[in-house]
């Protein structure tokens, strides 16, 4: 009984702040405080007309899509190698690839800034952010794809080759359809991580900020706080939808491969 109360309290503590977002996003007042003063969609209208916000969202979407594609590609290579082949110091290599998962982002951000600007003398752009996001997203992609590849029987591809297909078409005809749900959920996770990543984007963005960086900029003006709330509401809704799709796809993949669900990433 006490455990149940604890669990409920824990969930409230975890999610109550997020519930405040939509409440104040529709509240007709610039000050974030109770009691609520009325319903409005004014803040959402403001979002629609703000062109610099639109640019920021476009930047973020571009970065997130590219990050999702690149880190998933890298993840496929790593997960496939990890699941199908034996090679020297495999455990060490796999551990090393997963390291960015626990590296503080601020360290990654600062060191990348030094590398890009000082060592390579390149300008900052969306691409520098993409490179950094790929670095931090790849471990997540590998974690998800590992599950998909490890459930795969290595003799599956061999069987396809034995039946006349080349190595590549065996991969395309057999492995790819079986891991596709994993690939999609990996892309969605990478997309989500990249979309709301702030620290690295803050350090590495050029003249045109990403959405989180733009939001952070807005925070300096109290009057625009409800707009941030409105934007946050949209983001939360999108994140929940995307992660739900990712999990559903992962489960469908497990069912398709005919294996027991051993609890996934989410």
């Amino acid at each position: 009984m006490s455990l149940r109360i604890y669990a409920i309290a824990y969930l409230i503590f975890l999610y109550a702040p997020i519930v405040l977002l939509p409440i104040f996003a529709f509240n007709d007042a610039t000050i974030i405080a109770f009691p609520l003063s009325g319903f409005t969609t004014e803040w959402f209208d403001a979002l629609m007309t703000n062109t610099s916000l639109h640019t920021a969202v476009k930047n973020s979407l571009f970065i997130a899509v590219m990050t999702a594609i690149l880190s998933t590609l890298l993840g496929i290579c790593a997960a496939r190698a990890g699941a199908m082949y034996r090679f020297p110091v495999k455990a060490g290599i796999m551990g090393f690839i997963m390291l960015p998962l626990v590296l503080p982002e601020i360290i990654v951000a600062v060191s990348l800034l030094v590398v890009v600007v000082q060592i390579f003398d390149l300008g900052l752009s969306n691409w520098t952010i993409i490179a950094a996001h790929v670095l931090i997203c790849t471990p997540f992609c590998i974690a998800i794809l590992n599950g998909a590849f490890q459930n795969l029987d290595p003799s599956m591809e061999e069987a396809a080759m034995d039946l006349g297909e080349s190595r590549f078409s065996a991969f395309r005809l057999v492995t790819l359809p079986l891991v596709m749900p994993g690939i999609i959920s990996s892309m969605l996770i990478a997309f989500t991580i990249s979309l709301d990543e702030f620290i690295i984007a803050f350090f590495l963005s050029g003249t045109s900020p990403t959405m989180p960086v733009y939001i952070w900029g807005l925070m300096r003006f109290p009057a625009s706080l409800p707009i941030v709330m409105a934007l946050g509401t949209i983001l939360v809704a999108l994140s929940i939808i995307l992660l739900t799709i990712a999990e559903l796809l992962r489960r469908r993949g497990m069912a398709r491969a005919g294996v027991k669900d051993k609890g996934g990433f989410l």
């Binding site: 029987d153 003799s155 599956m156 061999e158 069987a159 396809a160 080759m161 034995d162 039946l163 006349g164 297909e165 080349s166 005809l173 057999v174 359809p177 079986l178 398709r256 491969a257 005919g258």
Partner: protein, 361 residues
């Protein structure tokens, strides 16, 4: 008989590990051939070398007179049934079976579906084509794997422990079905197994492998009756080993066997080269007998004491202590009408015959 597969001096290394050591082997067309051995003996590696799924580190693999060097698995006239069956779970039964026909643009869609239906009926799965493949039972998956491999009419069908995942009843049924199928299609089957009984039941010839080498290559009866080494004798069935002393070697071999005395045996009963002096005499449990009360024999007898009794229903296995032999003799007796199951400690007589001895160095 024509040679279909010829291996010459085949070696395979995994790093420092020597998985196959100078394998020379000829497999004939239409033969049911088994590679038998304990796990890690290289039998699966050898099968994969023939399939083209592993490269050789040295030596030649010829199939149908053609050197297979540089010919990848998809271009070899072999097809394989994998231990896990490797049924593609995202495809239906029919799509699985038809997989090998993808590259055959000369066949119409109707031809293909007819071939699929024929292949399925050959393995007893008529009408299963539309089923989802992950919903099949173990035995059904095995049949789908067989149909999928046979639809291409390969010269050689390779079977990697195909029955090991099935329960005992199913396994025995599939053994019979595989033999029948092999006779029906006339394709060379190469079976990898660690189950000696399975190999004896199914094969025309068996190669027993140990540590990357072929220990003995023979038909099942020769292998069982005349194993050419102690490790083959130990691996195939049960055998009692008795210390022996060879006195004279000629057409007849004069030998002193511990507990049984001095006998003269046929030279054929020594499949490996012998020298005068210490040797080992092997004798199978079923070639010995216990003389029950009321039974008579004109064969030789030796006194013993029952040391252990294991009752199997149709058979009883006795361990009988005989003076002069270190280990009790293991004796298999059919439980015929009127034969009691003896108690431990019973004084008894053991019937033996020197014709059932095998002499090993």
């Amino acid at each position: 008989m024509t040679a279909l597969i010829t291996l010459k001096g085949v070696n395979k290394y995994y790093g420092d590990y020597h998985a196959l050591r100078d394998i020379d082997l000829t497999i004939n067309a239409g033969e049911f051939f088994s590679l038998l051995g304990p796990s890690g003996c290289g039998k699966t590696t050898l099968l994969r070398v023939i399939a083209g799924l592993e490269d050789v580190s040295g030596g030649v693999v010829m199939i149908g007179g053609k050197d297979m060097a540089g010919v990848s698995a998809n271009l070899r006239p072999t097809n394989m049934v994998f231990q896990s069956y490797a049924i593609f779970p995202h495809l239906s039964v029919a799509e699985n079976v038809a997989f090998g026909l993808r590259k055959r643009s000369d066949l119409s869609k109707d031809d293909k579906s007819k071939m699929v239906e024929e292949a399925l009926s050959m393995v007893g799965l008529s009408g299963y084509g539309k089923r989802a493949s992950h919903a099949l039972s173990g035995g059904q998956r095995q049949r789908v794997a067989l149909a999928r491999a046979l639809i291409l009419k390969p010269k050689v069908l390779l079977l990697d422990e195909p029955l090991s995942a099935l329960d005992k009843k199913m396994r025995e049924q599939m053994q019979v079905e595989l033999i029948r199928l092999q006779r029906h299609v006339g394709i060379t089957f190469i079976l990898v197994t660690h189950d000696q009984e399975e190999a004896l039941v199914m094969s025309d010839r068996i190669a027993v492998m140990f540590e990357g080498e072929i220990g003995q290559l023979a038909d099942p009866e020769t292998l069982y009756r005349r194993p050419n080494s102690r490790r083959v004798a130990e691996f195939i069935g049960k055998m009692n080993f008795l210390a022996a002393e060879v006195h004279d070697i000629g057409d007849q071999i004069n030998v002193e066997v511990a507990g049984l005395g001095r006998v003269s045996v046929n030279a054929e009963q020594a499949p490996m080269a012998l020298h005068k002096g210490a040797a080992v005499a092997g004798v199978r449990p079923e070639t010995l007998a216990i003389l029950f009360e009321g039974e008579t024999t004109d064969r030789k007898l030796v006194d013993g004491v029952v040391d252990e009794v294991v009752y199997y229903g149709d058979m009883t296995y006795y361990d009988v202590r005989v003076a002069g032999i270190d280990q009790p003799l293991n004796i298999a007796m059919k439980n015929l009408i009127g034969r009691p199951v003896l108690d431990v400690g019973t004084q008894t007589k053991v019937v033996w015959d020197e014709r059932s001895l095998v002499l090993l160095a």
